[in-house]
Amino acid sequence: MREVTIIGVGMHPFGKYLAKSLKDLGRHAVWAAIDDSGIDPGRIGCAYVGNSLAGLLTGQEGIRGQVILHDAGLDEIPVVNVENACASGTTALRGAWLEVAAGTCDVALALGVEKMFVGDTARSLAALASDSESELARMGMQFTATYAAHPKYNLRGRLTEYGWTERDYADVVVKNSRHGSLNPYAQHRRALTAEEVLAAPMIAEPLTLYMCSSLGDGAAAAIVCAKDRAAELSESIPVTIAAAKLRSGHFFTSRDDGYSTLRDMIGQLYEEAGIGPEDIDVAEVHDAMAPVELLVYEQIGLCGPGEGPKLIREGTTAIGGEHVVNPSGGLTSRGHPVGATGLGQIAELVWQLRGQAGARQAKERPRTALAHNQGGLLSSMDSAAYALTLLKR
C-alpha cells in the first residue's frame, strides 16, 4: 500500500439553500477542493461520491455521483456511488484513499453532498428516518429519543448513573456554538448561552432543540494523492491519511452486555498507528446530539467513565485547549447535511493541520487529528456504520 496525502479540500458552507440544487452544492465543493490543491483536474483518476437522501428527496435514486460530476465538468473517470447514512462522506474518502493506496491512480476525488431542505420538513424527516432499519422507523423510533434512551447513549439515564446535569449538556452546546460562531462554513453561527439552550423547546427529555443537529444543505470534497507524487502535482501543504477505518455495527445477542464498537475500533487504530489519545491535538466527532460528545471523550480515551464534563469545564476540548474537539462547531453548529458531514470534518481537520483555520485555529501547529463519523441504526441495537480517519501533518 502506498502512503496517501490530502492535497486539497473544499466546502460549500452548510446551511439552508432553497434555491440551490444538489448539483450546485456538489460543483461548488469539488472546484473549491481542486482550486485548493492547485492540481490540473485532468489528473483526477477516479471519484467516490457520498450521499444518503437524494433518492428520496430529489428523485435521483441512481447514478447520483455521475449526475453531479458531469455537471461539474468531470466526465469519463470511474465514479463509485457511496451510501452509508451519516457516515457516507468519510466512507467515500476511504474509497478514494484505497484507490490511490492500491495504485489504480495517483489522484482521486472524494465528495460528500446532501440537499435536505426541499420545502417540506415532514418529507425531509421521513427521508432521514430511512437511515435507520425500516422496521425501527415504522415502529415510531424517534431519532433524538434514541440518544436520550438507547443503552449505547442513554443520556437521560446518565444523569443518574454519572450524576451529570442538564447544565453539563448545555455547556457542550455553549462550547460548540462558540466554535461555530467563528466558522464561516457553519450553518448556525450564533454563540448560545446555557440558559438559552436549557430554555429551548424539549425534543426528547432531557434533550432540547439546541442540543440537536438540524436539517442542512451542503457539500465537502477532498483531493487525495500518492504521497510520492504530491510535491510534483500540488503546492499545498500535504496532510497524510495515517488510517482510514470502517466498521459495521455489532449484532447484539443474549451474550453481550456492553457497547464497545467505537472503543474497540479506536483501540485498534491507536495500536496500529503507534499513538494514544494523548497525541490527538484536534478531533471532529459525530455529535448528532451535542451532549453525546461527552461519551465520545470516554470512548476515544480522552477521559475515564463519567469524566467528560470536567474536560468541558477545564477548557481541555475548547479552542486553545490540549485536545480540541469540534473546532468547526460540530454537527449541531457547523451543521449535519448527512452525506456531506464526514468530508466536512475532513476539510476542517486539514485546515487545522495546515494552520489555516483562522479565528477558530484550535492550537498552534497541531500534528495529529482524528475524525469520527457514524451513521444509521439497526434493529440489532448498534449503529450501522462507524468511520474513523486519522490525519497527520
Binding site: A122, L125, A126, A129, E135, L136, A137, R138, M139, G140, M141, Q142, T144, A145, A148, A149, H150, P151, N154, R156, G157, T160, P201, M202, I203, A204, E205, F251, F252, T253, S254, R255, D257, S379, S380, M381
Partner: protein, 138 residues
C-alpha cells in the same frame, strides 16, 4: 387491554398472540445457544444457519426511557419510548402502553414490565407490541 387477535401488525413477524397471551418472536441458535431479537435465520455469533424461533419477552425490566415531545411524521407527541431488559439477556426498543401517561414521573428505571399488544396509537387498526408496568399484586 390486549388488542383483538387477528388485527394486522404494524411490523410483521415481531410477535404473536397465543391463547396464553402475547410473545415476542426471537431466535435461538441450536449451536452456540445465543438468542437474538428480532428473529433471524443465521446466528450472528457462530454463523450457523437455521436458528429456531424462540418465544420470549413476556416480562422484563425497564432499562431506560424518554418522553418524546416531537413526533415523527404520522405520530402524535408526547409519547414514550423505552428500552427493555429481558431476562433472556436481550435489550430491545419498545413503545410504552397508551395506558401510561406520557410523563417522566409515570415510569421508573428498573421497574418490572410486561408485554402487551395494543393499537399503535389509540383508535388505530394496526397493532404493535409495547410494554407496561407490571401490576402490583398485594
Amino acid at each position: 387491554m390486549n388488542a383483538v387477535p387477528g388485527a394486522p401488525h404494524l411490523v410483521p413477524g415481531l410477535f404473536e398472540v397465543g391463547p396464553d397471551g402475547p410473545w415476542l418472536l426471537g431466535s435461538r441458535c441450536e449451536g452456540c445457544g445465543d438468542c437474538v431479537f428480532p428473529s433471524r435465520v443465521v446466528c450472528p455469533r457462530c454463523k450457523r444457519r437455521g436458528m429456531a424461533v424462540e418465544r420470549l419477552g413476556r416480562r422484563g425490566t425497564l432499562y431506560s426511557f424518554t418522553v418524546c415531545h416531537a413526533a415523527p411524521t404520522g405520530w402524535r407527541a408526547p409519547y414514550l419510548q423505552a428500552y427493555v431488559q429481558l431476562p433472556e439477556g436481550l435489550r430491545l426498543f419498545s413503545l410504552v402502553s397508551s395506558e401510561v401517561e406520557p410523563r417522566a414521573d409515570a415510569l421508573e428505571v428498573g421497574m418490572a414490565v410486561e408485554l402487551v399488544v395494543e393499537p399503535v396509537q389509540p383508535g388505530d387498526s394496526l397493532v404493535t407490541y409495547k410494554y407496561r408496568p407490571l401490576e402490583q399484586h398485594a
